[in-house]
């Protein structure tokens, strides 16, 4: 309990103490992924329906907000219900057929759908195809104007507290579900589908309920991301990598637990963000500087492999370590030492 209060207090005060944009950025992204992981965990952890396709719902949120702002000049405050409705429709369209599948077949179906969505979006001219949608920068004269267009160029604080609120809301829902009849049904579906059904649990209905709750937060995260980065393109929203990352956060942290996804996000995101920034810095080197730097400069240069791949190598290493030493996720490790 005290740990929770202390953690919450730290999160509230943090951006006031650490006022460098990069430090704030790292926690913003951690909170974003903490929310995504928590939302994913309601479907993948509690209900046992492992989806490697949540990037689709994230993308629906991001693209809807970006599309209506860039093309029709509409504030996300007006268009978020449209994003939600589209995400819910997508969830129904994907969930209805795939929830008939069990175990690995469901996982595979989610991968195929995510990859198809990526290919479609990458070729869809109306949403910028492979290039994506870039927000027009809106110069606001005061805070309420900035709030209306949800663009803040002077400070990251509004973004920080917005994603913190979303994060806490998702965490609250994830916590509360465990003590509701719904929580028992979801776990029963995960543990033994036939038995659940023989006890009167409408399996497909509750899978859908779990998916919709999960999609609700995932879609909001997508909208947040679009407003934060002000640039939406396929690779960083609907790609398979994003879908995999969302699932990894929960799996590496501790699948099916309340704190697993939170821990996962706050371990993985800061590490990968540092790695990315550190190594992509070396990408600016020209060839002569590289030669002067000796062997290590070359190693670092190739490690970076285009500036954004070291974090993926880190994921790979982490998966190997976790699978070998801590199959129940990082949370299991913390439980052992506490």
């Amino acid at each position: 309990m005290w740990v929770v209060v202390a953690g919450l207090a730290t999160l509230i005060v943090y951006p006031l103490v650490f006022d460098m944009p990069f430090h704030q950025h790292i926690v913003i992204v951690s909170l974003l992924y903490g929310t995504l992981g928590t939302a994913w965990n309601i479907l993948g952890g509690y209900t046992g329906q492992v989806s490697i396709g949540h990037g689709v719902y994230y993308g629906v949120g991001a693209y809807t907000a970006a599309y209506f702002f860039t093309v029709h000049d509409l504030s996300p405050w007006l268009t978020w219900p449209i994003a939600m409705a589209l995400a819910a429709l997508t969830a129904f369209a994907i969930g209805m057929p795939t929830f008939r599948l069990r175990g690995h077949y469901f996982v595979l179906a989610s991968v195929f759908i995510a990859e198809s969505a990526y290919i479609i979006v990458s070729n869809w001219e109306a949403v910028g195809a492979g290039i994506g949608l870039e927000y027009p920068i809106h110069k606001s004269e005061n805070f309420s104007q900035a709030l209306w267009v949800a663009q803040f160029h002077q400070s990251k604080l509004p973004y920080y507290y917005a994603i913190l609120a979303l994060f806490l809301a998702s965490l609250f829902v994830s916590w509360r579900i465990q003590f509701m009849p719904l929580g028992y049904y979801l776990k029963a579906v995960r543990e033994e589908q036939d038995a659940a059904q023989s006890l009167g649990v409408d399996v497909r209905r509750y899978k859908m309920v779990a998916l919709l709750i999960s999609v609700f937060f995932t879609c909001l995260c997508g909208i947040f991301y679009a407003q934060y980065v002000l640039y939406v393109e396929p690779f960083s929203t609907v790609s398979l990598i994003i879908s995999v990352e969302i699932a990894f956060i929960a799996v590496l942290g501790g699948i099916g637990t309340l704190w697993g996804p939170v821990l996962g996000a706050f371990v993985i995101i800061p590490t990968t963000e540092f790695l990315r920034v550190y190594f992509s810095g070396h990408m600016a080197l020209d060839q002569s500087a590289l030669a002067d730097g000796g062997v290590w400069a070359y190693i670092e240069y190739y490690l970076a492999g285009g500036g954004g791949n070291v974090d993926l190598m880190f994921y790979g290493l982490l998966i190997m370590l976790i699978a070998r030493f801590q199959p129940n996720g990082v949370l299991g490790f913390f439980r052992k030492i506490v």
Binding site: P181, A188, E191, S198, V201
Partner: protein, 240 residues
Amino acid sequence: MEKLLVTTGIDKHFGGIQACKGVDITVAEGEIVGLIGPNGAGKTTLFNLITGFEKPDAGRIEFAGFDITGMRPDQLNRLGIGRTFQMLKPFPRMTVEENVMVGALIRHGKVGLARERARHCIDLVGLEHKREALGRELSTGQRKRLEMARAMATEPRLLLLDEITGGVDQPSIGGLIQLVGRLRDEGTTLLVIEHNMRVIMELAEKVVFLHLGAKMAEGKPNTVANHPDVMKLYLGSHHA
């Protein structure tokens, strides 16, 4: 007595195997009916058809006067049909209490009430000392009791028990027989698959004998046990 369950001309085949051939059975409200027959006779298939896990190729199933053919297991449970599984299916990472609560929640809808109801059922099957144990930590006998407690928690009008004494130690069988008798006395109708003839003889008002998917005999336990075809199958041809 009012007929609670009536199946008429149930056919079911899996590939080339005819698992049920025109099976007609009737279970009256308040009675215990035993379903016996050698392995592969189609007993569990018949259970799966009645509880909606399989759909019949032909025939009709009525429950309390309604045609329930083709309905889903969860719908049938809500109508009042409960079952246990021969291949035990506990929720492995949930405690015994949580396992049973899932069944109770469907009826009661409130967590507190469901917990109370679940504890009552756990006490009835004699698992109170294992309430906090996880489903996967139970022995086979304990899992059978858990199956029963869970099904009982849904408060079924008709309860289908699939070999609840199989794999249970001899001393415990008496307790299970008592429990089934008590459920009947409280108003539950039971259809019971059993290999243990002691259970059938002590409890069942009526016995249905299945062989290769077809009903071969039906009647009082003693009559069926002495039926020439049944004797032949169970004891060998020279006894007939």
